[in-house]
Structures are given as structure tokens and as C-alpha cells.
Amino acid sequence: MDLQAGSVPGKVLGGTEVGYVYELLKANVVRGRRTMSLVLIRVDGGQQNDRLCVRLVQSVRRTDVVFAPGREGECGLLLPQSGKEEASAFLRRFAGEYDGGTAGIRAAVLEIRHPDLSFEQALELGRTGLVQTEESEWIRFVDSGLGRPAETVKVSVLDPDPLFREALSMSIGSLHVPSVTLEVRTFGDGLELLESGWTASWHPHLVILNDVLPKQNGLDVLHALRKMPNEQKFTVLMMTRRNSEEDMIYAYESGADEYLIKPFPLRLFEAQVGRLLARLWS
């Protein structure tokens, strides 16, 4: 390979290096609840694969990784911040600027979300994908069969009205959020939650709380949660009967993520909670 260091913003990684980088990126992706794409590109007609790789290196973002998978005419890409849609958009743009046009370019795109998917397996899946490409459909999406690992999200519902507490917990229980296991618990007062030890684990935690609560009230609880060492794991939804702008602004300033004024439509609540949960995977 005759790449001139400094002339391109990055370099093409070889087989062993890329295996290591792949593991590193994958670990980050899984922890950050994001999606990474692995792209395998082949240009038919005996073109030099270094040229393809060089062009790729010039086109990708700094955070993306170009690698040589070790076969003639093939080049690989790891896009740690992109799903398959973004990856294929990149490919089309790239092919449009490529000298040879789309003719002869084939690509396979594979989304990586699960820690158990090894680099070799991913590469293998990519190659099967490449074989299945056609003239009209030169980008092929491959499904690894390994989705995001199921994750537990804790949900706490705090309201003084036991019937309403139950209703909210059932309403949340009826939500289907892919690859998330919801663990819902209800509390009648603020102290009960803070003393339960339920807040101690590292799980993402959605707290739905009323402003008026016996013992520690909503603001007390919010304050206590936001003072905990790993407070980012809490997403807080405040509920109130008071329709006061002042209170609302203050709650947001104190670290509430959403604010609902009672009475509210149950379906709006479900949509909002669904959205808050989905936002955990940006």
C-alpha cells in the first residue's frame, strides 16, 4: 500500500488492527445504546482495491474507519454513528462521485448492536450479502439476527392516589418498546422511593412523580435524585394539578425532563413515556 501519510485524513486498517478497533467500537455502541454499521464494498472488473480504499478514506468522516478485509477488490467500512439508512445514503453519494459510476459497485450493509456479534461473523455475513446483490439493487442490507440485547429499564410511579398509581403502572405495562424490559414499581410517597434502594442500580430509570406527595414531595425527590452520583440515568416526568408557569419553569430548572398537567389524556401520557424510553436509544 502506498498511502502518503498526511495527504488523507485517516488510514486503511489491516486485518488484525481492525478486529481490535471493531471490538472497541462495538463496546461503545452497546453501552451508549447506539447502532454501528459495517459496510463491505466490492468493485468488479479487476479495479485495484487500494484505489477504492483511498477514495473511501477521503470521503468518510474522521470517526469512521476504513479497512482492507483481505480480498482483492474489496474494501470495508465501520460507521460507528450510523444506522443502515445513513450508511446507504453515504454509499449512494460515494458512488455518484466515484469515477466508475455505480456500474460494478456492490455493497452490503450490516447493523451491529449486539455484543455477541464477532468481527469474523460480521464479515462473513457481509460477504453473503455481497453475493446476493443485483444490478438494480446494488446495496444489500443484511440482518445479523442479533438485535439489541434486551435491557431492563426501571420505572417508578409516585402518586398519592393508589388507584391512579395502578392505572399508570398498567398503562406503562401495556407499552411495547422493542428490546426493553420494563420493571414498574409504584410508591405512595417520596420517602418510600428514596429509602427503597430501588434507585441504587445502574439501570436507566424513568421516574413519574406527582408534585404533591406525603413526606418528601415531588421537588424533594427530584432534588434528591439529581444529587445522586449517576443522576443522568434518571428521566423525570413531573405531574401536577397546578397550572402555574412559575412552578413549571422551576421544575424544569430543577431537572425535570417532562411536565404533565393533570388531568391529561392517558394516550398522550403513553406516547410521551414511549418517546422518553425510545430517546434512551438516540
Partner: protein
């Protein structure tokens, strides 16, 4: 003092103590019955909370098991409805509560409406209104023709408004002097748009308390549509009405039209000047300072105090504007 034989007094005391003993027994029996009802209610809720959620959420029709079989269970159903209505909105949920109450609770409430106990009647009226038991509209009207307390009268008005908004004003305008300002406000707030407009049109026929309530409600509604209406009230002979109209205009949160502000700043009534001192915060700085100068030496402490806050307010607004740029 010997006129009172000891025997009699002794007899009286013993009798009273015995009476108290009997009453205690009665109390404990009554309480036991109440506790039993409480347990029935708790058991009902234990069994059916989830089913109620599924029904009210529209996931399944109301099953046979939800129909209350006795007073304890009826109380439990009431608790469920109250909890949902207080915390959750939605036409569909209201409708399901209405249908169920009409079908399975109306006879229970009809009986309570004819109770001789005031609290029982009141509770029934509350529920009829909250749950929309319109099949009892006729019974309520009949109750209204009898001699009833003020609280019931007002509750009946709310029910009439909820079940028969058409012609509500016509039917009840002669009564508007009988209810307090707070009650008026509540009634006005619950009025559908057209009923509210009709009431506002007939402002002159209203009693003072109702007039004031209407003006206050306009302030809370913060709808610019009513500005001309409010402006007209500023020419009223009634000072209280003028003050309230001015306050409502302030509550609209817009830049007050100059003629209104001029009139307020130079008003002999301190309340009007006080509202003016609040209004000038929304003026452009130069203009605001002009008015502030007029009001600076005001005899009212409240006006002066309000002006003291003007500087920081203008400052904050300038910062906000800069941030927008």
C-alpha cells in the same frame, strides 16, 4: 336548692349514662356495618382494578363482574371513576363512565336524591354531575322545584348547564344574583363558548357579582378577542367593574393600547394606577420611563413598589431581545 329531689337528679344522671351506653352500642354496630362495606369495597377493587383499566382504556367492554352488587361495591366504583376523572381526561373515558353510570348506578343515585339527609343528596348531585348521569336530569329538575339548600341549588345549576346547555341562560338568568362570585366563576368557566357569549351579551341584565366574575374570567381566558368588550367596560359608572376590566386587560399580556393606559395612569383611583404601573413593563423602554416618571411620586406605596421592579424588568427584557438576535 332542695327543690330538686336527689332521687330525680340521680335518676336523670343514671338515665343519661344508660342512654350513652345504648348509643355507644348503636355506634359500634353502625361502625361494624361501615367497616364491612369498606372491606367489600376493598375486595372489589382488589379484583377489578385491572379490568377497569382495560375497560376505560378501551381495550375491552365492561364485563358482568364490574357491575356493583351492593353499596360497598358501588362506593368502590365511584372511587375508580373519581380517580380517573381527576387525573385523566379524554372523551372516550368520560363516555364510558357516563354509559356505565347511567346503566348501573342511576337507580342508586335516584334513591339518594330523595334522601332526607342533606349530605346524601349533595353527594348524589356531585356524582350525577361528575359522571354525567343524564338519565337523572328529570329527577334533578324535580328536586330543583322543591325547597333546597343553596349548595344544592348551585349544584343543580351545574347539572343543568352540563346536560342542557341550550337555553341555559334564558332559564337561569333570573337566578344569577343568588349565587356567589366564586360560584359564578365556576359556572362561567364551564360554559360552552356559545353559552358564554350569550351571557356576555346580556351583561346588563346580570347582577354585580356575576358581572365581576365574568370580567375576571375573561382575564383568565386571555383571549384577545374580548379586548373591545373589556374596553367598553372601562367607561362604566361602576368603579369596581372598571378596575376589574383594567385588570383583565392587563392579564391579556399584550401591550396595552395607549388611550387605555393614559386613562389609567392619570386615574384618581389608586388601584387603576397600580395596574397601570404593571402594564408599563410591556412598553418600549422610552415610553415606559415616561409613564414611570408620572407615577414615580405616587401616593400609593404599592404603585411605587411596583415601579421599583421596573428597572430590572426592562433590563431582563433587553437581555432576552439580545439573545434573540
Amino acid at each position: 336548692m332542695t327543690g330538686l329531689p336527689i332521687g330525680w337528679v340521680l335518676g336523670g344522671v343514671v338515665f343519661l349514662l344508660l342512654l350513652l351506653a345504648v348509643l355507644t352500642a348503636y355506634l359500634f354496630i353502625a361502625r361494624a356495618a361501615e367497616e364491612k362495606r369498606g372491606r367489600r369495597a376493598a375486595a372489589y377493587l382488589e379484583r377489578n382494578t385491572a379490568a377497569w383499566f382495560r375497560h376505560l382504556r378501551g381495550l375491552e367492554p365492561a364485563g358482568e363482574e364490574l357491575i356493583p352488587k351492593d353499596r360497598g361495591e358501588a362506593a368502590a366504583v365511584e372511587e375508580v371513576f373519581r380517580s380517573y376523572l381527576n387525573n385523566v381526561t379524554g372523551e372516550a373515558i368520560r363516555e364510558r363512565i357516563r354509559v356505565f353510570s347511567n346503566r348501573h348506578l342511576s337507580s342508586y343515585y335516584r334513591k339518594k336524591l330523595s334522601s332526607r339527609n342533606w349530605s346524601d343528596r349533595m353527594n348524589a348531585l356531585y356524582r350525577i354531575h361528575d359522571f354525567g348521569v343524564d338519565s337523572l336530569a328529570e329527577d334533578c329538575r324535580a328536586l330543583g322545584n322543591r325547597e333546597v339548600s343553596r349548595d344544592e341549588q348551585f349544584q343543580l345549576l351545574l347539572i343543568d348547564l352540563a346536560f342542557r346547555p341550550d337555553g341555559f341562560v334564558e332559564r337561569n338568568i333570573h337566578r344569577n344574583g343568588q349565587i356567589s362570585e366564586v360560584e359564578n366563576k365556576e359556572l362561567l368557566f364551564r360554559m360552552p363558548e356559545d353559552v358564554f357569549h350569550e351571557t356576555a351579551r346580556r351583561l346588563d341584565e346580570l347582577a354585580n357579582d356575576t358581572k365581576y366574575a365574568l370580567i375576571d374570567v375573561l382575564g383568565m381566558k386571555q383571549d384577545i378577542y374580548w379586548l373591545p368588550f373589556l374596553e367598553k367596560q372601562l367607561d362604566s359608572n361602576d368603579q369596581e367593574l372598571r378596575i376589574r376590566a383594567l385588570r383583565a386587560i392587563d392579564a391579556l399580556g399584550i401591550r396595552t393600547p395607549d388611550p387605555i393606559l393614559d386613562q389609567a395612569v392619570f386615574s384618581p383611583v389608586w388601584q387603576e394606577r397600580f395596574i397601570a404601573s404593571r402594564m408599563i413593563r410591556r412598553l418600549p423602554e422610552k415610553k415606559a420611563l415616561q409613564y414611570a416618571e408620572v407615577l414615580a411620586g405616587d401616593e400609593s406605596w404599592l404603585v411605587r413598589e411596583e415601579l421599583r421592579g421596573l428597572g430590572p424588568a426592562l433590563e431582563r427584557r433587553r437581555l432576552e431581545k439580545e439573545a434573540v438576535r
